[in-house]
Symmetry: C2
DNA sequence: CCCATATTCAACCGCATGCTTGATTATCAA
DNA sequence: TTGATAATCAAGCATGCGGTTGAATATGGG
């Protein structure tokens, strides 16, 4: 899908700043992963981490400010829900460069096909080795 | 490193940290955009920005440390080249959530269809903006 | 050689981040 | 009312970031 179909060419830079900055932390990424498909309380969210509850609470606030999480308070509990909307903007941005790794993979695929073609009757059970992601030279 | 490198479940967190952090700055994103398709010198890269050359040089170093830019020095000049490889890891991460915005667009499409259906003979020239349907994962 | 050019290094400043511990607010339950 | 629970607020600390200016390091050209 073309990026211009549903979003402007360059979305709000400040939004992109906040989203990418929010994603630049392993705890926050793990929080988003845990919110994938279910809503969780702050304390439930904090449980697997080796840091204080307060620290997790602040991580959640960072995610809220980035628009990636919404909180709905009922009584003393606060249920956290994922909002993947802003991630879409990040996805549009990074996917602009997909041509590069696709070209890389296409080249690799052609190369592997070439190897396959030169092989003198490979064993039928031995599948072709999986494509390893090309590390930069 | 295994076969899962192509579509890694969880790539190296530190790499992801550096890549997302590098993308969380408008100057660095603009640098990457300007390097899309051509290599540029540091001074050429710095030209459109209202900050000092030293500041741009440090931004480039951040991008180099994130693996997004490589520098080839010949003499006193330093030619900068984009390496989109690490962006692929970021793309894999964010595209994991594509199901959400695709669902959103599907919902929007259904909603627009509903409106269309209730309209009593819409004007022929004013076409409803076409919504490209996102591919179902 | 002499000087301009290209880039980086170094020191500094202001501010944000990530974590801690302790206090506070608010709610539920006995 | 009393007390436990859920979550946030607040202060403090170490670290890192983004910007500046000034100096240093090559390198190329006259």
């Amino acid at each position: 899908m073309s990026a211009s179909d549903l979003t402007p060419e360059e979305p709000d830079p400040a939004t992109l700043d906040r989203v990418f900055a929010a994603l630049a932390d392993p705890v926050r990424r793990a929080i988003l992963r845990r919110l994938d498909g279910r809503d969780l309380l702050v304390s439930e969210l904090a449980e697997p981490f080796a840091i204080s509850l307060q620290a997790v609470s602040r991580h959640i606030q960072v995610l809220v400010r980035a628009g990636l999480v919404t909180q709905e308070r009922t009584g003393r509990i606060s249920r956290c829900r994922l909002d993947a909307g802003p991630i879409y903007q990040a996805a549009v941005w990074v996917n602009h460069y997909s041509k590069y790794w696709q070209a890389q993979f296409d080249t690799l695929a052609v190369w592997l096909d070439e190897i396959e073609r030169r092989k003198p009757a490979a064993s039928p059970t031995a599948a072709r080795p999986r494509l390893k992601r090309a590390r930069r030279a």
